[in-house]
């Protein structure tokens, strides 16, 4: 009799706790894959496709699955590779391309014929213009992905490295002076 009671109590407990867990799993459901989101937060969101994927998110998904290397994103640079390695517990590898300084695109407004092809190419909507009107780049929005260069039929878009100005200038790492110790004669 006792043993039946014990089993009943345990069964009741199991049912109640199972229901609670089930409810919690619905209520606190995590949207999307948290690992992909973490990886995406590290990627620079330039959306340039140089990694061989159509944007940063597909690359993040591929990394999360473990099918690809973590050193394929040139805009992220070595710093990005190091961060990814840190997150995923993988080894740091040298970047699979040259590291470039950050650039932005500039349209030569005298040559632009207003074909709208660059607008269609820009992944982040950083170009304004209309058919047969001059186009221009909204500099703060440009990620420097270079995707607008090939479609331009008159080659009026060029890339320029972002130069240092008072607004983006950073204090430099203090340089430690090293003083030569006076030579001591061997005793």
């Amino acid at each position: 009799m006792d043993i039946l009671l014990a089993i009943a109590i345990m069964a009741l407990g199991a049912v109640v706790l199972g229901a609670a867990l089930g409810f919690a799993s619905i209520k606190f459901k995590v949207e999307g894959d948290p690992l992909v989101e973490k990886i995406e937060a590290i990627l620079p969101q330039t959306q340039c496709g140089q990694c061989g994927f159509p944007g940063c998110k597909p690359y993040a998904e591929a990394i999360a699955k473990g099918d690809v290397d973590i050193n394929l994103c040139p805009p992220g640079g070595m710093e990005g590779v190091a961060k990814l390695a840190d997150l995923l517990g993988r080894e740091v590898k040298p970047l699979d391309a040259e590291e470039k300084p950050k650039q932005i695109a500039i349209i030569d407004e005298n040559t632009c014929i207003g074909c709208t092809l660059c607008i269609q190419a820009c992944p982040v909507d950083a170009i304004v213009g209309a058919a047969k009107q001059m186009h221009t780049i909204i500099t703060p929005l440009c990620t420097g992905c270079e995707l607008c260069l090939p479609p331009c039929p008159v080659e009026c878009i060029r890339m320029e490295a972002i130069t240092e100005n008072i607004d983006n200038w950073k204090w430099k790492y203090p340089v430690v002076e090293i003083k030569a110790a006076p030579l001591q004669k061997a005793a």
Partner: protein, 592 residues
């Protein structure tokens, strides 16, 4: 008038070196040869230039229009001609250039029509706008636009208005002399701030090493019958930091994450109050300020200086000693060596110190941190500089934030006391600017991601819409054809019942043909577009080729002869083939 003062922890007592520049009264600096007025002289948006090279301007005329609410207008400091609007080197530790309006004075110093206003007849918004138009900014050194600080918090009642006349940095005496000589106008300016903010109390804090200034301010307060309290605070660097003075006078501690109005207190410098009063009661925008010129000079003194005066010219007035090897802007604790003697005096320039090795002997090299804790004891914000130093040095920025690096006011007390002579503040500045840069990058990346995702969504939607439209058009055409066919069938075979099955197959067939014809139509459209683009390309190319290098037109005879000689020499050396050797070959041909 005794009142309970509070204390802040730490602080240091460096030699004050103030007496040198206190001997003489304020002098008006003469007109310099040229004025270089930077457009960006305050926190916030960069003002837009509203003058061009060649324009005639009057003293006080607007030359830079405020961009956004947190931004302050810039005015011509004297009458004259605008020489250029161009990049010039700035009084900034980076030594980089920024946009400046360069004015050649005409010597007349002729004012624009000045409009004094009765501020009591205006709404608070109008007064704030007026101060923005007059370019009034915090003259204590932070140059935050004053109008932006003149709105009380909606939820917290305004308890105290703190007026900062402490001037704790060594060498600097411009606020001291301002209070001694122009106390009345300072007090009137404080009255304006009081009326806008409606605080319960107004406290004017002055360090107790300036008894004359305190006496002058007390006399002015009494003469004007204002209920302001002039409080002498103990001399201890950095008692003149806004947060420290608020702490000493009210006991309130303002964290980096909050505005002082959220705690019911606001703080202004005495010089700011003075310029605010000049702007309101005399219609004079901020075109000059008081600057202490001291250090390694023969005659240290305070000057009323036009904004834009080159620092080198100003320093000459005080007769610098021959071994002067640089100019420090600001005090010895928080100032920096300016990159060039040509840099202009700006609204943030309270003091110039002629630098020499005699006055500021070079520091012995840095040694390792011995964890003595002296820096933590000296820090007025109760931070742990040595911990922040370790993490900044290791570039572990997350940890520096855990140690509250953004509460550091860069006062330099920690570097001042460090027995290992570690330039702690430099490490903190480095860490802070790295953290800001990362923050900017992160925000930019987030924005790019959002726009990318939106673009993808839009592309999808457009594709779907197009497909739907095509399908609809095809269906409509098919329906029309079917109707025609049905009508024809009905006309032809009138007596017999229409064969509905046949009609239905016909409809299907015609629909198929419609779809087949739809694609060629799209193709033709594409072809037309391509052709148009090709034509445009050809035009652009022709345009580029038609461009002649401008500097080869109108050559003088001498230049033409020189060119011919050069060409002859090149031909002799077989550098060019003669067919191409035309002198004015367009540059574009080579680049093509």
């Amino acid at each position: 008038m005794l009142m309970n003062l509070f204390k802040f922890k730490g602080g240091v007592k460096p030699p004050t070196n103030k007496t040198q520049s206190l001997g003489l009264s304020i002098a008006q600096a003469p007109l310099p040869s040229k004025l270089v007025v930077p457009l960006h002289q305050s926190i916030g948006g960069t003002p837009r230039p509203v003058v061009q090279a060649g324009d005639k301007v009057l003293k006080g005329q607007l030359i830079g229009e405020a961009d956004g609410w947190i931004s302050a207008a810039v005015h011509a400091p004297t009458s004259g001609t605008v020489l250029e609007v161009a990049m010039h080197v700035q009084p900034h530790p980076s030594g980089l250039d920024a946009m400046c309006v360069v004015i050649e004075p005409d010597g007349k110093d002729e004012w624009i029509a000045r409009q004094p206003v009765d501020y009591q007849a205006l709404t608070p918004e109008q007064v704030r706008e007026g101060l923005q138009q007059a370019g009034v900014v915090g003259l204590g050194g932070a140059v935050f636009p004053t109008h932006g600080k003149l709105t009380a918090s909606k939820t917290v009642p305004m308890d105290e208005l703190v007026i900062n006349g402490a001037e704790c940095e060594p060498f600097i005496t411009c606020d001291d002399l301002l209070m001694r000589e122009r106390a009345e106008e300072v007090v009137r300016g404080i009255g304006v701030f009081r009326d806008l903010l409606q605080p319960k109390k107004v406290l004017i804090g002055i360090e107790d090493n300036k008894p004359e200034a305190a006496a002058a301010m007390r006399a002015a307060v009494d003469a004007l019958g204002e209920p302001f309290l002039v409080v002498q605070v103990p001399t201890l660097y950095p008692a003149g930091g806004a947060k420290q003075l608020i702490r000493v006078l009210t006991g309130k501690e303002v964290p980096a994450s909050k505005r002082s109005t959220d705690l019911g207190v606001q703080c202004f410098n005495v010089a700011t109050a003075y310029t605010a009063w000049r702007a309101i009661a005399h219609g004079e925008p901020v075109v000059s300020r008081l600057v202490t010129v001291t250090g390694n000079v023969g005659e240290p003194r305070n000057y009323e200086v036009l904004i834009g005066t080159p620092m080198g010219e100003l320093l000459q007035l005080a007769q610098p000693q021959p071994d002067t090897d640089g100019i420090v802007m600001g005090g010895p604790m928080m100032g920096f060596l300016v990159p060039d003697a040509k840099v202009p005096v700006v609204k943030a320039t309270n003091c110039l110190i002629a630098h020499s090795e005699r006055l500021f002997p070079p520091k012995a090299p840095e040694m390792p941190c011995i964890r003595c804790g002296a820096c933590a004891q000296a820090c007025p914000h109760e931070l742990q500089p040595f911990e922040m130093y370790w993490f900044s040095r290791a570039k572990n920025f997350g940890k520096t934030q855990e140690y509250h690096i953004f509460d550091c006011i860069e006062c330099g007390c920690c570097s001042f006391v460090c027995p290992s002579r570690i330039p702690l503040v430099q490490y903190f500045r480095f860490a802070k600017s790295e953290i800001w840069a990362r923050e900017r990058d992160k925000n930019a990346a987030e924005g790019a991601k959002a726009r990318f995702e939106f673009k993808q969504l839009r592309d999808e939607r457009e594709k779907a819409e197009k497909a739907e439209k095509l399908a609809k058009a095809a269906a409509a055409q098919a329906a029309k054809k079917a109707a025609e066919a049905a009508a024809a069938a009905a006309a032809e075979a009138s007596p017999t019942a229409p064969d509905s099955a046949a009609a239905a197959t016909q409809v299907q067939a015609s629909a198929a043909t419609v779809e087949a014809t739809a694609t060629p139509a799209v193709d033709a459209e594409k072809e037309a577009k391509k052709a148009a683009i090709a034509a445009a390309m050809a035009r652009a190319k022709a345009q580029r080729e038609a461009v002649q290098p401008k500097n080869t037109e109108q050559l003088s005879a001498v230049q033409q002869r020189e060119q011919a000689e050069i060409e002859a020499r090149r031909q002799a050396a077989h550098l060019t083939d003669p067919a191409q050797a035309e002198p004015a070959a367009p540059a574009s041909e080579k680049t093509d």
